[in-house]
Symmetry: C2
Subunit: 139 residues, 2 copies
DNA sequence: GTGCTTGCAAATCGTTTGCAATAGC
DNA sequence: GCTATTGCAAACGATTTGCAAGCAC
């Protein structure tokens, strides 16, 4: 069976054609696409696909823990099939969002006092100028 | 002179009546208000105030480092006059945003490998259920 | 055939823009 | 008077909603 279908079933989501296509896209494109980007990428090969379905599916995936919504860019939500704890970096020049992972030798625990709140989600966002844009400027 | 006026001048922003009112509101209300909340709170006493001015002023404050924009809630941007590095916690039940500060004995540096990117902003967001909502449920 | 899923069109709502009126040096 | 600032109304754009048609077990 396809990886995307398995992934959906494991998260207790019925694998429709549309849902599999969107899940597959998220699993294969680690670029943190927006709903619109997913729609634009898939609609040529899925002519009947509607943007509404993309939105509802992304909400479904997020609610079932099959993806996470990233709000680092205030203009539109982005999505990531990797729900493990990692940080995101938004380049203010090119707009790309990069994944940042923990350094090998550091603790997983972050230095904030949670004051008795029950934390279910953690989002670590960094903004600035990415390596590529910096070296481009130097030329 | 008023604290808000001084604060604006220190950030090289001309202190107009509207800007002072908005800055004052942010300094006195640590509740991370949205543009709309600020507008609704100020408009009774500043009848001529327009929402446009609130938006442009908040952008000005953010650009000059006199406030920071928080995108923890995907529905609308919130603002915080405290630009020091601290985390935010959004309660999914009551919608309140709380400040979280560093634990005394921990390092300031977070365990993510920045991979050579130039970081200018850091945002640490936690979501879940706040202390108050948890104890309310227990009753 | 009953309930879940999809897709269209319209609505919603936070935010931005164009532009004319106003205020402050 | 000239420039920065304000405020109205309209535009914009991402997302949501209402609802009818289609699909799956």
């Amino acid at each position: 069976m396809e990886k995307a279908a398995t992934y959906l079933i494991n998260h207790r989501i019925r694998p429709s054609v549309q849902r599999m296509a969107i899940m597959k896209y998220l699993l294969e494109h680690k670029t943190h696409p927006s709903a619109d980007e997913i729609y634009l990428a898939l609609s040529p090969s899925m002519v009947s696909l509607s943007k509404t379905t993309v939105y509802t599916t992304l909400k479904l995936l997020t609610d079932h823990g099959a993806a996470q919504m990233i709000t680092i860019d205030e203009h539109n939500a982005c999505f990531d099939a990797d729900t493990s704890t990692h940080a995101h970096f938004l380049c203010k020049s090119c707009g790309n969002i990069y994944d940042l992972f923990s350094q090998k030798d550091s603790k997983e625990v972050l230095p904030f006092d949670l004051e008795g709140h029950d934390v279910t989600e953690m989002h670590y966002y960094y903004k600035g100028f990415c390596k590529n844009c910096i070296s481009r400027k130097d030329e």
